[in-house]
Point group: C2
Chain length 333, copies 2
């Protein structure tokens, strides 16, 4: 506990090594990390979180790289979190790319992390939010979160940002339709990257057509920004649109901002509950002497997962009743 | 219950309308569907499930379309499930594509469904398995499951197939590395689609290099098949490799097969538990009079999600203790 208080203090002072260790603990699911996160929580909520999402190949990482460069030119302290196995930031890419991205690696005001977790129960979005909280608590003013725009978890992550940027490229055709299905309603800004390619006009028209259909969000009309990230073109306009969206959120009665923060808090809470309960139940389940027989029973169709689940939960709750004495596995209580 | 027994019988007789209704109910999360699924479960496990995964743009749907064609030529009864918002099968694509795919729409032995669900708690993989079970119970011999290969849920889905096909295209570069991170260990067959494009050799070398590093799986070496799905080239070879893999699984002591079925059963059970528990707890949570105040407390940093979660779960279990009387929300018990 003493040690944990020490870690809390160090993170709050912006200590990179303490923050890095905490993030590693979160990623590994170390229980002690929770105590530190609890203590950090009151110190969060100051950073401005920008989500950048898009399919593999649209150039998100280059875009993020240029955004870092520009925010640094403005003197901002930056946190970057890549939740994308294809991101060079997460070590998923070829060496050349990785080296290029590491031009910010020696800048003490840029703290770049990636989320390696794949498969902790209910863990991806929960871990992401915890890491954002760490970056926030350590004093980063801007936090960039890069996710690949496919998969429910990945969509959930960007929806809780202050500003969500959806990146597309010309000629995506079908994929634009997919964005429509899953992501359109959460986009605050659209970026058409690789805007030197053929088909920019059509992509812009497609996006506009979708935006016109979607009249539910009457207050903020997502702008469409053309960029060529590799040539640093359009990045200034993108950042000024982020600024516009920020002004919109923080202007007036701040109802939209409050709604967004409430949505994030709700997601945060349900993720925590989901992870806590399922981890507890499933740990207990795997420790049952009857575990192997249960799985065999399913494979051999002697029972079905729904009936088995009902039985197991009944026993689990009965175990809870006995105040922490694990009785699961004994039907005859 | 009578009506549900009737639906069970109709699905077992291969009735398309009954199956379609059940799948819709599963997708919508209708509780009555569970009763039907329980009754169908003993009749499942006969179909051969093939997972086809890959990033958007690699041509998965065209590949699936050609595989359907070929399996039909062999007289096989087919089920197809698209768990991919970008798939033409799931209506995510342009009209032209959708029409082309519907050439099998009038064939009574091909039953094509898509999973529209995005966001039911823990629902995507659980719903997918349930729909596979429906297709299986209605007598389909081969079930093709198409998923986009990004996101934990999407990866989980293909890992439970009998044969998992990972599709790439030449020139993917970085993305191949991403596959390495997430999917390599689950691939039974690699397809290099659009094999008329430049860079096939390099892609093949990249895959081979990865396979050589991954010596943990000594028993089955995933073959690499080149295809041009739009020209129907390589599909026969792909199907004969599927046949080889099937022979491998069903030959000898069937240890690999059993392990795969056990893994699927375990995933099935944990998904069911996860969904059941979290739905129950979160429904109860949302019904609390103190719900709004709780969320505000989080936004205003008066509490943190971990502490709140501990309190809520304590109350939830206490409520369970009183045998179904919901007491959650009353701290002073």
């Amino acid at each position: 506990m003493m040690e944990q208080q020490h870690q809390v203090d160090r993170v709050l002072n912006g200590d990179v090594r303490a923050a890095a260790r905490l993030i590693r603990d979160i990623d590994d699911g170390i229980p002690a990390a929770k105590t530190v996160l609890k203590a950090l929580y009151p110190h969060t909520g100051k950073a401005y979180v920008i989500g950048i999402s898009g399919f593999p190949g649209v150039g998100k990482s280059t875009l993020v790289d240029q955004m870092i460069q520009q925010f640094r030119a403005e003197g901002k302290r930056l946190g970057v979190l890549a939740v994308d196995p294809t991101s060079p930031f997460s070590g998923g890419a070829m060496l050349g790319d990785r080296v290029r991205m590491q031009r910010h690696g020696t800048d003490p005001e840029v703290f770049i992390r990636s989320l390696a977790t794949r498969g902790h129960f209910g863990g991806v979005t929960r871990s992401t939010q915890s890491i954002i909280d760490v970056l926030d608590a350590m004093g980063k003013e801007i936090i960039l979160v890069e996710t690949v725009g496919v998969g429910q978890d990945e969509v959930d992550i960007v929806t809780t940002a202050h500003t969500t940027i959806i990146t597309v490229i010309p000629g995506m055709g079908d994929d634009i339709q997919a964005i429509k299905a899953g992501i359109l309603e959460v986009a605050d800004i659209f970026v058409i990257n690789k805007a030197d390619r053929e088909g920019v006009e059509r992509t812009r028209n497609d996006l506009n057509a979708m935006l016109e259909m979607n009249d539910s969000n009457g207050t903020w009309l997502p702008p469409i920004v053309e960029t060529e990230a590799v040539r640093n073109r359009g990045i200034s306009e993108l950042l000024s649109q982020v600024e516009n969206h920020k002004a919109f959120l923080f202007g007036g009665d701040r109802k939209c901002l409050r709604e967004r923060l409430r949505k994030r808090a709700w997601k945060d809470l349900t993720d925590t509950i989901k992870e806590t309960v399922t981890t507890e139940i499933i740990d207990r389940l795997q420790a049952l002497p009857s575990f192997d027989a249960m799985i065999d029973g399913l494979v051999d169709k002697q029972t079905d997962p729904f009936t088995l689940c009902e039985d197991l939960l009944e026993e689990f709750y009965a175990g809870k009743e006995k105040d922490g004495v694990p009785v699961a596995g004994q039907k005859d209580r």
